[in-house]
Homo-oligomer: 187 residues x 2
């Protein structure tokens, strides 16, 4: 297992840098003494400020009830150093195992929500439920990121992007096209 990664405060308005490219994330939650972690690829950026992110979490997933009951979760960004862990978490249920213990992950206290951060991830975003209108029909939660933490380096961590059927795309080359953008499109 990789070590716990030291993180710094990160602006909540900039979480798109990590989420918009579409990586697999680990979503952690807590209800009382019970914690859970789920692997999730179905997320979307909805606005910069407030920093809104949408997560599709089907009702069949144990995390759904913890997150619905508490209105809180943490979105954690794993790198390829955690590939097998990401798959293991996605293949097991929190009704049967304690995922932090089973996968030897470090639960760190968040600052604004009750759900724990996952220490071994590159970045963690503390979330509070902002709109539950589509939770019942689609399992789609709108969260506000109320606090963000990220490792200062590397600037472009190697992330996992799931294609279904056991196949992942690993993040590749970075290309800079700032010169083609209008200045107001950059931040």
């Amino acid at each position: 297992m990789p070590d716990v990664i030291a993180k710094e405060d990160f602006p909540v308005s900039r979480v798109r840098r990590f989420l918009e490219p579409g990586p697999v994330v680990l979503v952690s939650s807590r209800r009382g003494e019970e914690t859970d972690i789920m692997t999730l690829g179905w997320h979307v950026v909805l606005s910069f400020l407030p920093s809104h992110v949408g997560l599709m979490i089907s009702a069949g997933n144990h995390s759904h009830s913890l997150i619905r009951d508490t209105g809180e979760c943490v979105i954690n960004l794993p790198t390829t150093a955690l590939t097998d862990t990401v798959i293991g978490i996605g293949n097991t249920s929190g009704t049967e195992i304690d995922k932090f213990a089973h996968f030897d992950l470090t639960a760190e206290p968040a600052s604004k929500v009750g759900a724990p951060l996952i220490g071994e991830c590159h970045a963690s975003f503390e979330c509070r439920l902002a709109d539950e209108a589509l939770v019942g029909r689609h399992g789609f939660f709108v969260f506000e990121v109320v606090k963000a933490h990220a490792a200062p380096s590397p600037e472009h961590p190697e992330t996992l992007h799931y294609k279904g059927d056991g196949i992942f795309m690993v993040s590749g080359d970075i290309i800079d096209r700032r010169e083609l953008f209008q200045p107001e499109m950059l931040d």
Copy 2:
């Protein structure tokens, strides 16, 4: 400009293969004689069957009104062969230019919706509005993919993944971890 890419029918239940890794897409629309194209990175898979996909399209974008009025669009997947076109489309407005003409793109007829496919893209997904509950508050549209088209090769096209601030990640290596998945998790 790359050539038009021949596509074949593709199962709508499998569009996650292309969308879940988080690529930048081009969304095309038509209202009467008027067409538009927008660049979009804020999308999410919501279910396999029905094949539901969510798109965040802010009201400030000209495409928003065409799509809201018609309840239809096409999600097109560009490859890195279209990088400069993707940026140009994102930096211009359909209120000022005809994007198909200006960017020398080929509008091909869809089979189930009025919005056109973009011929030069690797895949195209015809969409009909399925739930507009969050359109007013968040600009979030839930669509059903009613018909999908994809080029038979390459199996893993080189896609663009936006990080904000003029920086893109290009899709990288493919890794196969089928042996770590429970059979019911594969399809």
